[in-house]
Subunit: 228 residues, 2 copies
């Protein structure tokens, strides 16, 4: 809670009025409140310095640690919780007759039955594409004629360290028996692509990384009409 020694909010505003940042984006020049006298040079955002790190809990889906870290300029020190989780894959699995393969399952986080893209954790040493093929087979019995990585995000950069990959799986056909993990109970829902927009709009599909997967798929296939 130590006050920032060199930069009151008004001074921090001054630091925003600097040269253009990378990527074509320009730093903003926000409103200067009355009495503000910007006198500091530009002060870019910098990484915190981590002093120590302690694992407090292990679960089957993540390891929880606390980092003690401080801001190198202000000296502000805090204790930050981080979940160390394996990477995840979400699969946009399509059939040749214009269906997407979704799954319904009970989710203990939201305590609801969610309708989602097939998804799962990437095993240690496993490639994301291999994980996607395995999860698709285990959860649905389907196998794809072709698969490729089309995007990735940090599911939650604030307190989670992992990456969620999206895999586009095309030409999917049923070829195997399913193989659920203990405690899994999954229902396959073969959904006409034409039904998808309404299911997203209505909130029937609303698990975050599944929505991200659909975003990457539309992006990959040129179906995002960005404003110019």
């Amino acid at each position: 809670m130590a006050p920032r020694p060199t930069a009151a909010p008004a001074a921090r505003l001054a630091s925003c009025a600097c040269a253009p940042a990378a990527g074509g984006a320009a730093r903003a020049r926000p409103f200067q409140p009355p009495g503000a006298r910007p006198t500091l040079p530009a002060m870019p955002v910098v990484p915190f310095v981590r002093h120590d790190s302690q694992v407090e809990l292990e679960t089957p889906v993540f390891r929880l640690r606390h980092d003690r870290a401080s801001h190198p300029v202000t000296g502000h020190e805090g204790r930050y919780v981080v979940l160390e989780a394996p990477d995840w894959v979400n699969i946009v699995a399509l059939t040749d007759d214009a269906h997407i393969i979704l799954v319904r399952q009970w989710r203990h986080g939201t305590r609801t039955i969610e309708l989602e893209c097939p998804a799962g954790m990437v095993d240690r040493g496993e490639a994301p594409l291999a994980a996607a093929a395995r999860e698709l087979r285990e959860e649905t019995g389907y196998e794809a004629a072709s698969m490729r990585l089309i995007g990735r995000v940090a599911p939650n950069a604030a307190f989670q360290d992992n990456t969620c990959h999206t895999v586009l799986a095309e030409g999917c056909r049923p070829r195997h028996a399913t193989a659920f993990d203990p405690g899994e109970d999954i229902e396959l829902v073969l959904t006409p692509l034409a039904d998808l927009p309404a299911m997203v709009r209505s909130g029937q599909i609303h698990n975050g990384m599944g929505v991200v997967a659909l975003f990457w798929w539309l992006q990959e296939t040129g179906r995002l009409d960005w404003p110019r």
Copy 2:
């Protein structure tokens, strides 16, 4: 780890070959492995029964509990970790001259400086729109002429109980001094809309809920060209 008493994988496949589910989606009829004799009636996915629940850890961003729950049909019992977190808001904040307001900040989860939509936690008793206006003001000093909710997701239905709301904030103008939380150090990056697609494709913007926010914005403004 008790085996499912009534349904081997092959029998579970049989349960998928049932009547159409809600929403126009039909259950799939997966491949029947040789020797499979589907004899069970349809068995829909059902909620687990929770036996007890224990809070193990409190942090400023979530409360961690363990639920002991079992599948009502198979009897399989497990211990499931859940993060009780406040709702979040992500803000697509636009100016009248075709810029989007982004922020750069150090994130302890990924240990990188992320470029993101302004975002934050919804305070207890606060409406999501009010939280969005507050976070936008605190992080950037901007105020919107109009704001509306355009979508929501479960950030992680598997082990998190909260909702992430997306708010579209239009006509944003700098009106206030920023007010960072202790330990926050945020740089405002006023970005031309025309630069956005390349920044998403290149991974410069890759925090999950920010990508979801862009999805809802494109959806809201009719810019998603879904396959038919």
